[in-house]
Subunit: 319 residues, 2 copies
């Protein structure tokens, strides 16, 4: 009999699964549709059935499954395992999802929000391996965050700590979806980067992005980085501002938890070395001179598997 | 035989001492001159002698002393107990002060920087009592910080986490003593608040602070708050900007460690309720609308004893 762990990554559209051995090697990956409109009970039952299937497919039995970890979008009481609410899943209100999943699978379960789950995955098996003190950012439509301190995720008093996208870096600045002004998310997420470029083009700043907007009807963050790499001045400026703002939030976090490593994840890191180097340059230019800083700034390594890997790692580390 | 603890608070001018019972009640307080020019060995020996004296004065023997805690200005390797450097004590470079103190007193010792020590004092016996997750600011010449998470101080990778005065809130803004631009310390410390007022007066903004400057040759932070309370428009504006900037840094920290309590200490809190209420108002005005925040914002309770109390509490909690 071997110990295996199941990692589950719940999104608004699909639910991803991974079967892992005790060293967190992936034995198999799969996914099912989320079908969030059917409600929580149906979803949990379908998750349970799919876990039984993939365990059998891997020639194990449910007796081999030591624990199940689940990462999900939404707001949680993590200790109690209750999903308060989730923008993508309007039927899920105050759902005791940890207990439901544990009852369905007859296994110890752990739940965590998606950014923290990915953070824990990178810490356990990816770019953050060995860094007991790290800070993690996902750069997508929004900016998610995670903090590892002494090898554990920081949750905060009411399980909404580590909301690093809502650190204010430009007081009184751009309105964020959260209701604050000047959040890093309102400047340096993929969608905010695209939005700043679009506004500049509409304000008639000269750029090849004008043609992109005319042809496609919109400018994406990828367009900004692609044309910055080709030397378009406006795209370079927008991309550089994004890197500078990400460096500012790194400096802020350096003075708070003084991490050993900053790890960036999410779609935007497809921009590659130019983005990473620009963040490092601005960090070095703006950081204090009180002591030499040798913090590492790097990209995540696990890509889209970070969620299932992190969930399995959390399952392995259940105390 | 009773257990007692000694708390020591080392400043550039004086060294304060407290004798504490096991419930951290103060049995006696005293102080000696720091005489930093005599070097570390002499200072540690004088500290040891004074501890022997105050223990005897309180009708105990050194056998009753369970541990000694020391808070000090300076930069440390806290695990090793080494003082790297200290602006006030130029002779103290790479001094293994914890070992020296432990050897001199034959007791377990703990050292901590001064802001963290005061933070721990407020957590153990003051405004932060019962808050396992709190954030602490001292508002003086600079802005010091401390973070309690799960009942423990956050130290960071190289023992310089919790440097909350160097959180950047106005990128590209005022130059801070640390070399960065836009630190909260460069805006909202007592000396920066006084400096902003002085600059405004020199720039001919009308205010009774003009007379203060002419008569005393300088404007203090206290002058700003006194005249703000009396209705001087410029003083009101400067004081309100300080409160707003402190609220911004509270919002930032809310999204990082999501504390249960923010505690402000230091000379500036003599400004009293108007300052506290203004910080609370700006916090409420600027914080996100994603969830209702019921974090408490309050003033410290231990005054100048926070250092010796915190040091004794750290001594009590040596593992």
């Amino acid at each position: 009999m071997s110990d295996i762990y199941i990692g589950v990554d719940v999104g608004g559209t699909n639910i991803k699964f991974g079967v892992f051995d005790k060293d967190l090697n992936i034995l198999s990956k799969s996914s099912i549709e989320a079908k969030v409109d059917a409600g929580a009970e149906v979803m949990v039952d379908r998750i349970g059935s799919h876990i039984e299937k993939i365990v059998t497919d891997n020639k194990y039995t449910m007796k081999d499954v030591k624990a199940v970890g689940m990462g999900s979008t939404g707001q949680f009481n993590l200790t109690e395992g209750i999903m308060y609410s989730c923008p993508n899943m309007p039927l899920f209100k105050n759902v005791p999802i940890k207990k439901m999943l544990s009852d369905r699978t007859c296994k110890p379960c752990v739940i965590e929000n998606d950014a923290n789950t990915a953070c824990y995955g990178e810490y356990a098996c990816g770019a953050g391996q060995g860094s007991d003190n790290m800070v993690f950012f996902t750069l997508g439509t929004g900016i998610g965050g995670g903090i590892i301190l002494n090898g554990k995720l920081v949750h905060g008093t009411d399980d909404s700590g580590g909301e690093l996208g809502h650190i204010i870096i430009h007081p009184g600045g751009r309105l964020c979806g959260c209701g604050q002004r000047g959040c890093i998310e309102a400047y340096a997420s993929a969608s905010s980067t695209a939005r700043r470029a679009t506004e500049a083009v509409i304000a008639c700043e000269p750029s090849v992005l004008r043609e992109v907007l005319d042809q496609k009807g919109r400018i994406t963050c990828k367009d900004v980085f692609v044309h910055a790499a080709k030397g378009d001045k406006l795209a370079e400026k927008i991309a550089d501002e994004t890197a500078r703002d990400l460096a500012i939030v790194c400096i802020i976090m350096r003075h708070v938890t003084e991490p050993h490593k900053f790890v960036f994840a999410g779609g935007m890191i497809a921009a590659g070395e130019p983005l990473l180097n620009a963040i490092k340059k601005h960090f070095a230019d703006m950081i204090w001179s009180m002591k030499k800083e040798d913090v590492e700034i790097c990209f995540a390594q696990l890509g889209e598997d970070a969620g299932i890997i992190g969930a399995a790692a959390l399952a392995r580390d259940i105390k």
